[in-house]
């Protein structure tokens, strides 16, 4: 672990679905201001780790520590109130609500106090959302929904942003745009980002550090450059699939 205190650290976490163990002793961390990528194949447990950080499901053993506070047993909504926001797997925007209302839901922690300035920031990042402001979430295209999911998470003024597969099902150009937006955000505001991706190349290019997860176990970790150069990672995730 690094010298400065990590913003998020997951220590030896094991998560079960019934009797099936999805995560086995996972230890990862994210320092303030970092972009950390977690890569792995389908079913490796990436999204489970993401949801475990949010307490749905809870870790059976191990601890999740955010900013020096043990949040393992906290209910999900209280975890969110510590300013951890996520753009969850499958986006989970509110389909019958307009873009505006979706963003308002994101800002509900502060009772819309900073809505105007924060929504301006989101619209600067994703101008498409501004054009669609009064359109229902369910009528947006996949890429726009992803932008909305990230925008909604940002409206909560997060200290830590969890992104679950932001590139899933999107066109390369849109993926590029979204990744650029994340980078931009990280640079300008120092936002800590924890990113789960199957798109290993794109994610490692974006991130400062990375973890590789296989069958619920973190098998490799290191700086993005190291991982990108690692022959095993190259063979498993990068060769023949450079997105």
């Amino acid at each position: 672990m690094s010298e400065k205190q990590a913003l998020l650290s997951v220590e030896g976490v094991e998560t079960y679905y019934g009797n099936i163990r999805a995560l086995s002793g996972v230890t990862v961390h994210a320092d303030p201001g970092e972009i950390v990528a977690l890569i792995g194949a389908n079913g490796a447990g990436k999204s489970t780790l993401m949801m475990t950080i949010f307490g749905m499901p809870r870790a059976r053993t191990g601890r999740v520590i955010f900013d020096g506070k043990d949040i393992t047993q906290l209910p999900t909504h209280e975890i969110a109130r510590l300013r951890i926001a996520q753009s969850p797997e499958g986006r989970r925007i509110f389909p019958r609500m307009t873009v505006q209302e979706n963003l308002q839901m994101g800002a509900s922690l502060d009772k819309l106090e900073y809505f105007d300035e924060d929504s301006r920031m989101v619209f600067d990042l994703f101008p498409r959302l501004k054009e669609r402001i009064n359109q229902r979430g369910g009528t947006l295209s996949g890429g726009e929904q992803q932008m909305l999911a990230i925008g909604r998470a940002l409206m909560a003024r997060p200290r830590l942003l969890l992104l679950d597969e932001p590139s899933l099902g999107l066109a390369p150009l849109i993926i590029k745009h979204i990744f650029e937006a994340i980078k931009e955000l990280n640079k300008t505001t120092g936002l800590t980002v924890f990113l789960v991706e199957q798109n290993a190349f794109g994610a490692l290019k974006l991130a400062d550090r990375g973890y590789v997860m296989v069958n619920g176990i973190v098998t490799m970790s290191g700086s993005s450059a190291e991982l990108l150069a690692n022959p095993e990672v190259r063979a498993a995730y990068l060769e023949g699939g450079r997105h």
Binding site: F54, P75, H77, F94, P95, R96, G142
Partner: protein, 465 residues
């Protein structure tokens, strides 16, 4: 290909004739034994076979000609109409829709007097107008408004928060019995007991809410269904307090700020120097329930713009997303149950005051089903749609009581009352086929930035991007 195209022009007519004949033959096969023959007992208890060929012919002709007309004229006409006029109709509708709530409210406000005036003109005497209006104010006005209010209350739970509640009538019962018991035992007034009934119902709403917090969809529906039945069974079996199926009668009527609606010298009519009539109380009740229903609507509209109402709607859309946005889904669900139940309780105490009698008979599952059907038919979440649905469903069933003219067609043995529920069911199916998302299926957003720039509903489909 060329041959087929030549046949095309007259094929609609030919097709219609064929389908008409087929429908007639089917109807004949279907009704030959059911309608064509009838066994009756004669005076010596013997079975006598009656033949009813005329009636059978009517059935067959209606089916055949109906099918023919449908295929030959109505379907092509409606297709052409929807093709040509869609744009124009959209525009007209939206203008009409905007002012509809205001027009509707205005009509509701003058409804009792309108009825009296019309009947006065029709009967030629003021008393005739007053007495004749009883039926329209009571059976149609009050009855429909009770269901409007109940459906608006349930709408908070089902339409906004998305929690399928099949036992809503339980809260109606709690409200009704709260008023009935506290009024008969302690002599408390309606105006004191109305809010109390609401509070009691809200408490029961929270009591139901706690155990079902983790349930959604089908499972929630089953538990709420059971809850409704439990309340009813308690009312039947706890005879010491509720007098069981016997019911509680002689419940005090509501008063207008202490002025009773009785024929005596201190009564409403005497004080205002009006002729004695029961209609004043009915008109008073009409405005009372209108006020209560409008209160429900006002609270719903206000809440939808507040964080809690937003949270309800977000909960309906996606519970997991809600939680990860920091919304406490437990309190959100409980407030939805409590608020919905409270309005059920208000309606219940009004019901008790109106009837003067309550028994468990009034709170059967069918009531819950009807209220839920109104919410679904109206288009979940839309107040105007629900009001229209309540008027159609409840007004419709009331109208169906008056099918006496059918006796002239089907003979004096025909009992139209028996077909009431059948027609009612048919009407529901037709509406759901015609408007699968209810009368007003589009959710009206509660927040706009700058101007209203909505994409026409033509281009939007709800659900998945």
């Amino acid at each position: 290909m060329a041959d087929i195209q030549k046949i095309e022009p007259d094929s609609v007519f030919v097709k219609a004739v064929k389908e008409g004949l087929l429908a007639g033959a089917l109807a004949f096969g279907l009704f030959f034994l059911i309608v064509g023959f009838r066994t009756d007992q004669n005076i010596r208890n013997e079975l006598v076979l009656n033949q009813r060929w005329g009636l059978l012919a009517i059935f067959v002709l209606v089916a055949g000609i109906g099918r023919f007309l449908l295929t030959a004229y109505i379907t092509p006409w409606s297709e052409a109409r929807s093709k040509n006029k869609r744009a124009a109709v959209e525009k007209e509708q939206s203008a009409f829709r905007k002012s509809f709530p205001k027009i509707g409210l205005g009509l509701l406000l003058i409804y009792p007097f309108l009825v009296i005036l019309i009947l006065w003109a029709y009967n030629g005497s003021i008393m005739g107008g007053l007495q004749g209006s009883l039926k329209y104010v009571d059976n149609f006005g009050i009855q429909i408004l009770i269901y409007v209010m109940l459906a608006w209350g349930l709408n908070i739970v089902v339409g906004l928060a998305g929690l399928l509640d099949l036992g809503y009538v339980a809260f109606y019962a709690v409200g009704a019995y709260s008023y009935a018991l506290l009024s008969t035992h302690f002599g408390l007034s309606f105006w004191l007991l109305l809010p109390m009934a609401g509070i009691f119902a809200a408490l029961w709403g929270i009591m139901l809410g706690f155990p079902v917090l983790r349930l959604r969809g089908d499972y929630l529906a089953i538990v709420t269904l059971a809850f409704g039945e439990i309340i009813r069974l308690v009312l039947i079996n706890w005879t010491v307090v509720t007098k069981g199926t016997f019911g509680i009668s002689g419940i005090a009527k509501a008063t207008l700020f202490g002025i009773p609606f009785t024929p005596g010298p201190t009564g409403f009519a005497a004080l205002l120097g009006l002729p004695n009539s029961g209609v004043y109380y009915k008109i008073f009740l009409y405005y009372l329930i209108l006020l209560l229903a409008l209160l429900t609507a006002w609270v719903t509209i206000r809440l939808r713009r507040m964080p809690i109402g937003r949270a309800w709607e977000a909960l309906r859309e996606d519970e997991i997303a809600c939680r990860s946005l920091g919304i406490n889904t437990t309190t959100t669900k409980l407030t939805a149950f409590a608020t919905g139940a409270m309005f059920g309780g208000f309606a219940g105490s009004f019901f008790a005051a109106r009837q003067g009698f309550v028994s468990p008979e009034s709170f059967v599952f069918l009531e819950s089903a009807i209220i839920l059907a109104i919410v679904v038919l109206g288009g979940m979440g839309s107040l105007v749609g629900i009001a229209i649905a309540a008027a159609v469903m409840i007004g419709g069933t009331e109208l169906l009581r008056e099918l006496e003219f059918l006796k002239r067609i089907f003979g004096p043995d025909f009992t139209p009352e028996l077909y009431r529920m059948l027609l009612f069911g048919l009407a529901m199916i037709v509406v759901m086929v015609w408007k699968p998302r209810g009368f007003v299926g589009n959710r009206e957003p509660s927040a706009f930035l700058h101007k209203r720039k909505m994409v026409s509903s033509e281009f939007t489909k709800e659900g998945h991007g």
